[in-house]
């Protein structure tokens, strides 16, 4: 019984949230232009299902493209940074500096370079999401047990051997763990860029709807964003479980 309840709990909370929202809007007769009730949002979703769908695909594609670039670049840079202490020392402050720039501030530059469209969105998604991947991969490599490295080096293993046999497999849980963070950030980056300068995408759709005072549509966009975000997070979380199950199972064992 409690097991069932636990499984149902997330859904119950979502339903409750919408119910309270709907009730509050009706009881206090909140105008649609301030906070549309879920029923109005739903109506907007049904009415504008086509633009919502096509624009969410645009956002999905820009996010995915930026995310994949971040995965490739982040993995590569992470390996390089984790490889040598000197590179780590040299590059780390630069990366911290770069990462602390709010990426919204970069969007106008990207627009100047690449024009309004999908490329700034992709690049913003990329720029905002590669950092956690780099840090995680580098951490995984840098924290190889020194004794294990001794065992291998005493056998004549090269640095490359140590990396291939131990470092890289060891960094994989860190890598897949960082993907969950990265995909969320990439999504934020893409939507932020679309909101500022784009002619397609959910961010763009919501800005347009906002300037036309179509608040139900703005909220419909928000809900679609939430659904899309959850779905992408779920995919990476599933991937993590699948690829590095050993890292989860080994927790709590004596020597793992």
């Amino acid at each position: 019984m409690t097991d069932k309840l636990e499984k149902l709990a997330p859904w119950l909370f979502v339903v409750a949230l919408f119910a309270i929202w709907e009730a509050a809007c009706r009881i206090f007769s909140v105008p649609n232009i301030i906070l549309p009730a879920p029923s109005a949002v739903w109506a907007a979703m049904v009415r504008f299902w086509w633009p919502l769908l096509t624009n969410s695909f645009v956002t999905l594609w820009t996010t995915t493209a930026g995310f994949l670039m971040a995965v490739g670049f982040g993995l590569l840079l992470g390996l390089v940074v984790g490889w040598s202490r000197t590179i780590y020392r040299g590059l780390y402050p630069v990366m911290i500096g770069f990462n602390s720039i709010p990426k919204v501030a970069v969007v106008p530059i990207l627009v100047m370079w690449f024009g309004i469209g999908e490329i700034p969105a992709i690049l913003t998604a990329f720029l905002i999401s590669f950092f956690p991947i780099v840090v995680n991969v580098a951490t995984g490599l840098a924290t190889i047990e020194p004794e294990l490295e001794d065992v291998l080096r005493a056998l004549g293993a090269s640095k490359l051997d140590v990396m291939r046999k131990v470092g890289i497999p060891r960094a994989m849980p860190y890598f897949f763990g960082s993907l969950k963070v990265a995909i969320t950030l990439a999504f934020v980056g893409a939507v932020v860029s679309e909101t500022i300068a784009a002619n397609r995408g959910l961010g763009h759709l919501m800005t347009q709807a906002g300037s036309n005072f179509q608040m139900p549509l703005v909220f419909a966009g928000l809900i679609v964003l939430a659904i899309e975000g959850i779905a992408m997070y779920a995919v990476t979380a599933w991937l993590e479980q699948r690829m590095t199950g050993w890292a989860f199972r080994s927790q709590g064992s004596a020597g793992g």
């Binding site: 047990e145 004794e147 294990l148 001794d150 065992v151 291998l152 080096r153 005493a154 056998l155 004549g156 293993a157 051997d161 046999k165 131990v166 497999p169 060891r170 994989m172 590095t244 050993w246 890292a247 199972r249 080994s250 064992s253 004596a254 020597g255 793992g256």
Partner: protein
């Protein structure tokens, strides 16, 4: 087999160079079981690294197998207090790891993998881990992991086995069990062993010769031959002669700790 002559090793510490060992002399004959005991921080791990060629001495010479050590010796197997098994590999695959690295196995690894796998199973069986090859290390108890770690150190049939407090993290009963595992496998293969340990009974039970190291900077200040007949039984630990040796060693270490 091992010849350490008047070796000192300094490394850069916070307040200038620190001497880990100084005036270190140690000789271990081929096939000998040597134990090194001493207070903590006496540079025993430095000794391990010197012999395996992971660090070079600042002064003096280290010779293994007659040749001066100038890089990783490649003929040594190592095991530490922590079993350090790779959690993403099965026990058998963990044991194969040294064969993937050290020559001549490395270049024949693909073509002779089946043979190597059989060898892994045989070795596991000799330490009482028969049939555990397909398990993951984290499914094993601490004692079993340590057995596997010992196997990993021996899979490439090294002529030298370097052990750095390999049984320190185990409970007393498991530890004695593993003493016997090590004893049996050594009786059979007769490789040279350097066992670094805090446990004086362990040293006296297993070794032919026990070396006592001084506090930092470490050097050998006393060498005791342990001449009980082999194969030794755990009962030997309760002999008067055995307890006398242990007490002597203990007194000696208490002396160095005070100095």
């Amino acid at each position: 087999m091992i010849d350490i002559e008047n070796v000192s090793l300094a490394y850069a510490g916070r307040g200038g160079p620190v001497l880990a060992v100084e005036g270190l002399n140690l000789a271990v004959a081929k096939g000998e079981f040597a134990a090194v005991v001493g207070p903590s921080g006496c540079g025993k791990s430095t000794l391990m690294k010197l012999v395996t060629g992971l660090v070079r001495p600042t002064t003096g010479a280290v010779r293994v197998n007659g040749a001066a050590v100038s890089g990783p010796v490649k003929i040594a197997g190592m095991a530490f207090q922590n079993a350090n098994m790779l959690p993403w590999r099965t026990v058998a695959d963990n044991l194969l790891l040294p064969l993937e690295i050290v020559e001549p196995y490395r270049s024949q690894f693909r073509s002779r993998k089946a043979e190597y796998k059989a060898r892994v199973e045989d070795l596991l069986a000799t330490v009482g881990l028969g049939g555990f090859g397909h398990r993951f290390p984290w499914e094993l108890s601490g004692g079993m992991q340590q057995r596997a770690s010992l196997c990993r150190a021996l899979i490439h049939e090294p002529s030298l086995l370097m052990l750095d407090e390999p049984f320190a993290a185990l409970d007393a009963f498991t530890r004695e069990e593993l003493w016997c595992v090590l004893r049996d496998i050594w009786e059979r293969l007769r490789f040279t062993v350097v066992l670094v340990t805090h446990d004086l009974r362990e040293a006296a039970f297993l070794a032919d010769r026990v070396h006592v190291m001084s506090a930092r900077p470490g050097r050998i200040i006393e060498t005791r031959d342990v001449s009980f007949p082999r194969p030794r039984d755990l009962d030997v630990c309760y002999d008067k002669a055995f307890t006398d040796i242990v007490r002597d060693l203990r007194d000696k270490i208490a002396e160095v700790r005070k100095a």
